[in-house]
Structure formats: structure tokens, C-alpha cells
Symmetry: C2
Subunit: 432 residues, 2 copies
């Protein structure tokens, strides 16, 4: 826990909106100049594969694809065109954005070479995994440099495919204008999972460079679904947030206090219950006595205390219920997002969503969820973003909000009911 909300601005000043989840990328063939030419043969095959993939998607879901691409033709080009992108960010009132790979989630046409984006764990050849990641990162660095205030790019680092190569890529990414984080594969497959000490040099390098570590939804235990997509959709948050607990419960945030981790586009609804379970099981009041000797001293603070300092949630376009649960799940950690230019989020109807979903939320809380938590997590230039927001940002009055509504001082304490229910001591350092 981090936040003191005392300094929150309750005026009608525009919201500094930072979308914690946007995507950008080139069309498959356009990555060619960014790719090491040694891999051109595999690249040509991969481009053909991507085009075939689109044909398959059109076969099963053609009507939807046609309507989506027709109705949003220009906006979709913002996946790689900075000028178009800025127009659509402006229209959505979005001042800043955290940019992930895979601009096209409908037919997969803007995916880094060899699938090095959201499904990087599935690549079996380490060389190709790094070649694809590097190609995207080279392009992304150019793209973000067009406006390092608004654009915060997340580079690709397929850490399961080599620690040494990963450290080299982190070194390349570190300090580039507009590069603010790295995304690691969501699944580690046959490699050790992320609590393993072998990855520690990577966490150390990210912490040193101020690069925020991410996992983003996209992968899952495909083999277990028998092609039943519904099961995947229901379970995808689990596969995406597992690394949160691997890092937290193995003490990585104690060992690397500057390490920050964000789990992206798998909602936030699951977090509160897991904090309840983790706090009461591994916290001061250790309820599983028979396990005590094997879980003692794992971490220095209660699990919930790492939320908002080391752990943030790229919750994309939150549901109303997730907004209602904000004080349980982390008023200082949840980061709203549009998912532009994907269809799952609020784009292109962001203004409408904000008016519908935030009407009953205090201005202070809204400022945190829509932007200030992201400013904190990514160390963005708040003053410069405020300049952008002055031009494009919606005001509290635009959202129909009550300027007199205040968040109770003890909102978090009340929302995290398990402290009282289990007779636990409320962390001393927190005042909210």
C-alpha cells in the first residue's frame, strides 16, 4: 500500500488519463527491415503463416471481422501510424499510454516475427524468440521516440529462452526515450517458473533500469482445453497472474525493492480474494499451522502491502464491479485502460464508458485509477501529461461526477475486511 489520498485534486481539472493497455505493431511483412537478415527465410514462412491464419479466422468469424474492420478502418491504422494514433488517443481523452505488442487481436496481423509478442512462450527456438523480440523492440523504440511523453513502450524479452540474451536486450532497452518496461512470456513451459533464482539477474537489471516487468494475457495451458475456447477464456486470468505470486511469495520484492511488476489485461476481480488468502495464510496470523515450518520467513511484509508499491494491475477497461471493488483490490495499484486498438476494451467509445462507469466514483479515486497510479508505476512525466490533458482530457463534470463526493479516510481498511475478521493488525505504515 502506498497511497495517501490527502493531496488529491478534487477540482474540475481535466483527468490525466493513461491507458495502461494499448497495442501497437507493424503488419507481418513490414517487420522485415527490423529483423536480423539471418532469419529472412524463416521470416518469409512466418509471414505466409500469418496470412493463412487470417484466412482461418475469416472462415469461422467472417461477419464479425468484416464489420469491425469496416467500422474502424482508420483507427486500426493507428496501430503503426503515430499521427493517426494521436488523433484517436485525443478523441478518447487518453493523454498517455502503455504500449504492448500485437496491434491486431482479431486476425493477428500485427504480431512481431515468429509470434514473439503475447504468445512468445510458445516459440520453441530460442534464436527465433530473440530475433522476433529484437525486431519488434527496434521498431517500438522508434515508434515511442515520436512522443516519449505520451508513449510508454513495453519491450519484449523472452526470458525463458536465455538469461544472458535477456540481459543484453534489457541493456539495449534501458534508458531509450519512451521505453518504460519489458514483457516476459506468460507461460514458462518446460523451463523453471519465475520464482526460480536463475531469473534473479533479470529482475535485478529491470529494477536498476527502472523497467517495469509485465505479463499480459494471451497464453494458457492450451493442451488442456480440447479446443474448447470457453474454458480458456474463463481461465486466462489465472495463467496471466501466476507470476505475480511467484515473484511475491518467493521474496523477489524484498530482494529487489525497486522491482515493479504489472499484470495486464486479465481484469482485477481475482485479486482481492487472493490477497485475503495470502495475507491470512502467509501473514502474521499464520492459519495453516501444519505448514508453518515450510512457509515461514518467505516474505517481509504482508502480501497486500506489496500491492501499490511493487505490484500494479493493468486492469484495462474495468467492469463496474471491479470499480466498486477498488479499495479491496488496490486503489493505489489499479490502472484503467482502453485496450486500443483491440475490440475488447473501451475504444472507440471511451468517453461513453467513463461517463457510465465512473459516475458514482469520487474524483480523487477516479484520478488514481485513470492515470495517477500509472504515472507512479511507470514514473511518467506528470506535468507534461497534464499539458496534454488540458487539451484533450475529460473533466469530472464531463463524467457527471459529484464534486462533493469524498472517499472515506478508512475506505481501504474497511474494504480489506480480513484484517478485522481474522484479528490481524493493520499495517502500521499505511494511513489510508
Amino acid at each position: 500500500m502506498r497511497t495517501s489520498t490527502a493531496d488529491v485534486d478534487h477540482s474540475d481539472a481535466p483527468y490525466v488519463i493513461v491507458s495502461s493497455d494499448t497495442h501497437a505493431g507493424l503488419k507481418p511483412e513490414e517487420y522485415r527491415p527490423y529483423l536480423d537478415q539471418r532469419y529472412r527465410a524463416q521470416f518469409d514462412e512466418w509471414v505466409r503463416n500469418r496470412h493463412q491464419h487470417r484466412v482461418l479466422i475469416e472462415e469461422v468469424n467472417g461477419d464479425y471481422v468484416e464489420a469491425w474492420e469496416r467500422d474502424n478502418a482508420e483507427g486500426l491504422r493507428g496501430a503503426s501510424d503515430p499521427a493517426i494514433r494521436d488523433r484517436y488517443l485525443d478523441a478518447d481523452g487518453v493523454a498517455g499510454e502503455i504500449i504492448f505488442a500485437d496491434g491486431d487481436s482479431v486476425t493477428g496481423q500485427e504480431s512481431p516475427p515468429f509470434g514473439a509478442g503475447l504468445a512468445a512462450g510458445q516459440i520453441t527456438d530460442p534464436e527465433l524468440a530473440f530475433a522476433g523480440a529484437r525486431a519488434h523492440n527496434r521498431w517500438l523504440a522508434e515508434f515511442c521516440a515520436t512522443d516519449p511523453v505520451r508513449r510508454a513502450g513495453v519491450g519484449l524479452v523472452p526470458i525463458i529462452h536465455g538469461v544472458k540474451e535477456s540481459l543484453a536486450e534489457i541493456a539495449w532497452l534501458a534508458g531509450r526515450p519512451g521505453i518504460r518496461g519489458v514483457m516476459v512470456p506468460t507461460m514458462w513451459h518446460d523451463k523453471p517458473s519465475y520464482g526460480h533464482p536463475m531469473y534473479d539477474p533479470i529482475w535485478a537489471a529491470c529494477a536498476d533500469a527502472g523497467l517495469v516487468v509485465h505479463t499480459h494475457s494471451g497464453e494458457g495451458d492450451w493442451a488442456s482445453y480440447n479446443e474448447n475456447l470457453a474454458q480458456f477464456v474463463l481461465e486466462v486470468p489465472f495463467w496471466t497472474h501466476r507470476i505475480l505470486w511467484q515473484l511475491l511469495l518467493s521474496g523477489k520484492f524484498d530482494r529487489f525493492p525497486d522491482l515493479r511488476y504489472v499484470v495486464v489485461e486479465c481484469g482485477s476481480y481475482w485479486l482481492g480474494d487472493l490477497l485475503w488468502k495470502a495475507d491470512t495464510t502467509f501473514g502474521a496470523n499464520r492459519k495453516v499451522k501444519k505448514l508453518n515450518s515450510r512457509t515461514k520467513g518467505l516474505i517481509k511484509r504482508l502480501p497486500s502491502e506489496y500491492i501499490g508499491t511493487n505490484v500494479f494491475i493493468g486492469a484495462s477497461t474495468m467492469s463496474r464491479e471491479e470499480i466498486r471493488r477498488r479499495h479491496t483490490n488496490g486503489i493505489d495499484a489499479l490502472m484503467w485502460g482502453t485496450d486500443y486498438p483491440h475490440p475488447e476494451g473501451s475504444w472507440p467509445n471511451t468517453g461513453e464508458r467513463l461517463r457510465t462507469d465512473f459516475r458514482d466514483v469520487s474524483i480523487g479515486d477516479t484520478r488514481l485509477l485513470l492515470g495517477l497510479n500509472a504515472v507512479e508505476c511507470y514514473r511518467l512525466d506528470r506535468t507534461a501529461l497534464q499539458g496534454v490533458a488540458e487539451r484533450i482530457g475529460p473533466r469530472p463534470s464531463d463524467l457527471g461526477q459529484d464534486p462533493d463526493l469524498r472517499t472515506p479516510h478508512d475506505a481501504v481498511r474497511t474494504a480489506r475486511w480480513w484484517f478485522d475478521d481474522y484479528g490481524m493488525t493493520w499495517p502500521a505504515e499505511s494511513t489510508s
Copy 2:
């Protein structure tokens, strides 16, 4: 959804308590006479392995083991002694019980041969998996026959190791006095998961025989934890309840309407949110438009409508929060349990737990959670169990409950907030 609570008895009549989660078993060496003698050599090795396992546990957690076994010496012998067991059930006020394998969860000394109980999926030799299961089932049938009214045994059927052999074992179990269900491995490892059609003959046979299918906590993706037990403890509910969604979302409860499935000892807290997600994603108001063509027509009802008819939750000793969430998670599906003779549940302090945790719950709801849902799920003899309860069951007044407290008629409708929040139609067949 099933329940109409109109006929609930609000009098001070004793509660018919059915523990949805108890354990029984022999000491390793005592399984010898029940085992096919072809496997005696492997059996001797396995017995040695068990004794070594106990030594290891004592090394890391000796103080806890010593205190637990000293303080509960007689009660622990109820794992295989029917007379002692009855005394401890009586003392806890428990009229009936659903009995799983692995009587000793502290040092693993009452586990079916070759680990055929809670970790059956880890056995790699199909022959040994079935040999161990059969040995336990032969003993369990004798044990339950000592009192088929109170004891409902759950046989072991390692379905991942052979469909034909499983059908033979189900045929052997079917109709035996006091045998009410089968437990399948929680993890399927390298075999197809449980939505796969290859298992359909098993679901058909269980539905025909009235044998309730179970998964019980115990296994997990061990390889992913780097020996970090805390990560396992946090994730064990997920591994245990995955099969619920595999069966439900692949339409098994439509294909086999008499099939009943229970997920045991992984709590119930996770259920409500997954019902919200599943109802809104795969129900009438399909929010993930880009997936519609691939998830259409999977199931006939909304996911939440299968809870309390085909799906029940062996929630063991529920936390107070889980009791508070009962109308969301399934007032007609949640089944309380003691976990006797394991240390994680309410035993040996069941009376105290009931007084603390159910004080503010209506008598009607309490009757469902403590016993009547289990009577429905397992088709137990309610009249005969009432006879037992007259002798041993705690009364509402013993629990300090308010006899005038009534559950609001629309409690479930209010608790399942997502119907209104997403503009969904409330299922017509439900009145509660």
C-alpha cells in the same frame, strides 16, 4: 439453481449435519490383505517409502506432528476404527459423512497403496493405480457397510489410467451399501483433460449408478513451484476446481442430466466470481463478440443454473466470509464439512466453530449448508439421519441463533448481482 426454501423447518429441531469432507484409511501395511497379491513386491517398497516420508515430515515439522498426534491420539484412530469414529462423529454432532481416502494428512500414514488417493494422478503405472484404488475400495466398502446410513464412501477411480478399467471399477462400486460416489484424479497430467469425449462412458456410468463424481484438493502443478509451498497453497483451489468448468462448459451436464459433480476441500470463495464471468461471457448476453462463433451453443442453461442441480461444493469448514457469500455461491449447493480427522477443518472443535460462525445465519440457510444440500446431492436417507440427529445434533438454540431470522425471498437474486448489472434475464425456473 434448485432450492425453494419454502419448506424449510425453522423450529428448534436438531440439525441433520452431514460432513461433506471426512477421511478414512488404513495404515500403509494394513492394506496388504486388500491388495491383489501380484503387487506385493511393489507394495512392500511403497510401505517403506511411506515410513521414510513420515521421518522426513518429522524432521521439518516435528513439534507440530508430536503435539497433534498426542492431543488427538484416540480420535485419529477413528480413521479406520468404526466404533471410535462414531464416538467422535457424535461428539461433533455429525450425523452423516462423505468419506474420502487419506486419513492422515499430517504424515501421510493412511494413504491407499501406491498413493492411489488424493494424489492418484501422480502414479505413472496404470496397473498400480488401479491396484491401489481397488485395495482401498475393497476396504472402504466394508467400512461403509458398518453403517450405510451415516457413512457415504467415495471410491477411487483413476480414470486417466484407463476407461475400460474405470468402467469395471464403477460397476463394482455401484449399488454397494454406503458407497455414494467416486473420486477421479485432480490432475490429468499427460492425458486428455476431462471435457474430452473419451471420458463420456465414465460420466454415463456414474450418472446411471447415482455415483457422484468428485475431485478433491491434493494435487497441483508441482513442477511450477520450485519447492515453494506457499505458491501451491494459494493455487490449490484452481487445480481442484478446473474439472468443474471442463464438465460444465463442454456440456456434460446437458448430455448426462443425472451426472452430479462435487469439488471438495478447496473452499467456495472462488465460485461466485467465476459464475459472474461464465454467465456473462457464455450466457444469453454474450459479451465477447469476437469469440461468439466459437463458443455458441456450448451449454443449454446459464452456468450458474447448474449449481445446485449438477454441481455441488464440498466446502469443508467454511470461513465466515464464505458463509456470508452463500447466496452468491450457491445456498443450494454449498456443503459444510469437518475434514475429520485432518487438522485443517473444525474437528475436534466443531461445536465451537458452529456457534461462532452460524450465529447470524437463518435456521433455514443453516439446515441447507450443514446437511440438507448433502442429503440432496448424495440422495441420503434423510429420515434415518434425522433419527441420528435427534440423539446428537446441535439445535439452533445451541448455536445461539435467532429463531425469527428469515432469509429474504430474493436473497439469491440480490446476491447474483451480475444479472441486473449486465441486464440479463433472471432464469424463469428459479423462484428464489
